[in-house]
Symmetry: C3
Subunit: 152 residues, 3 copies
């Protein structure tokens, strides 16, 4: 048995779904913090308790929840992804540029859809967590994220 304890369970009724599409402009490869945009959607949806889903409609960018305190963390995360999917590898799919196939690999290794519970009107992110879109392509792109809240 794991050493663990659980809070009392909070119950609520489910009565609505709210959906919207967030379009963001990236500036080339890197992390883009979308936490404020997601929190605004939660507020506008008058969400109390429920589940927030982010779904990215692209395959050469992705989503992750990561440390927001030290920007050096994101630099190292990009370096790690570059090592795991180097442009220098002998990719078969190379018509769209040397950064395209590594982008697909990086997207596969991170997330296309993410969920964050909402409890008592707030996303339950930890103190050091932020929600990021990771642009894997070298050039700037316009990216669409579908936001959906199910709850009360």
């Amino acid at each position: 048995m794991v050493a663990s304890k659980q809070t009392s369970i909070r119950f609520a009724e489910v009565d609505k779904i709210a959906s919207a599409t967030l379009t963001v402009q990236t500036e080339g490869a890197g992390f883009l913090d979308v936490t404020a945009e997601v929190a605004r959607f939660v507020a506008e949806s008058r969400a109390y308790d429920g589940l927030l889903t982010l779904f990215l409609r692209h395959t050469s960018a992705s989503l992750t929840i990561q440390e927001k305190a030290d920007p050096a963390v994101r630099v190292d995360l990009l370096t790690a992804l570059d090592h795991l999917a180097p442009e220098s590898a002998a990719w078969t799919h190379d018509l769209e540029g040397p950064d395209d196939m590594p982008s697909h690999v990086k997207a596969m290794l991170t997330a296309t859809s993410l969920q964050v519970p909402v409890v008592d009107r707030h996303l339950v992110l930890g103190t050091w967590q932020a929600i990021y879109l990771i642009e894997h392509r070298s050039l700037p792109h316009q990216r669409k994220i579908v936001l959906q809240f199910i709850g009360t």
Copy 2:
């Protein structure tokens, strides 16, 4: 602040859950496009707005949403996974064959559960996205995916 814009929010009531199990037959290591099967489940569930979840009941296969246009992308994705979890590494767990432990690693690095929002009766997949089961074992296997829709 991120350069971003959001559509107006679409609201709907939540009233049902639909669950089913999809069994697919793989032909050995490779990508299997299950998008049509998932779309059929969404249609049969008379889903309008809500959240579609796929859950794979196995640990040596996994799920991903990836580029469907060029088949070479999937070839390269398999190559990338092979490099990240090579059969030639000195694995401790080797009773089930040299392809078994790499399969578990590949499953851990990709996804066991995936979510796709449904808006106005349609999965909100991007133009180039398809939903794939990735078989990591060398031999064909029968795999079970639980499909679940929550919404209206």
Copy 3:
């Protein structure tokens, strides 16, 4: 077309959300099986049909669903993660110790949120699947997992 078949669809009404926070104590780097704790939450929530979400409020630990039969699998999974994010790499972010930045990379490559459908009162885990928290830091930590069920 994929060789596939689907069960008949099971329908249910949606009427509640149950949320709680599970706090677990890790013993340093390694896998911690939290399946029993999650199943207890499902039972206490009187969950019949719906979606169970786990959300980890940390960025140097993560969640995964993996093989529970042979403990050697988890040993090899840790080894694989160590190879993908070695302490010996030249990380920029090194103020919190040599195991901190590799922990963030490992978290990015696995999962911060996980979903498991509940059908007929049971998590639909496969025969060999268990839900694990992976502690990536060397020292013991207290970790918080938000559990949320949406359904009936």
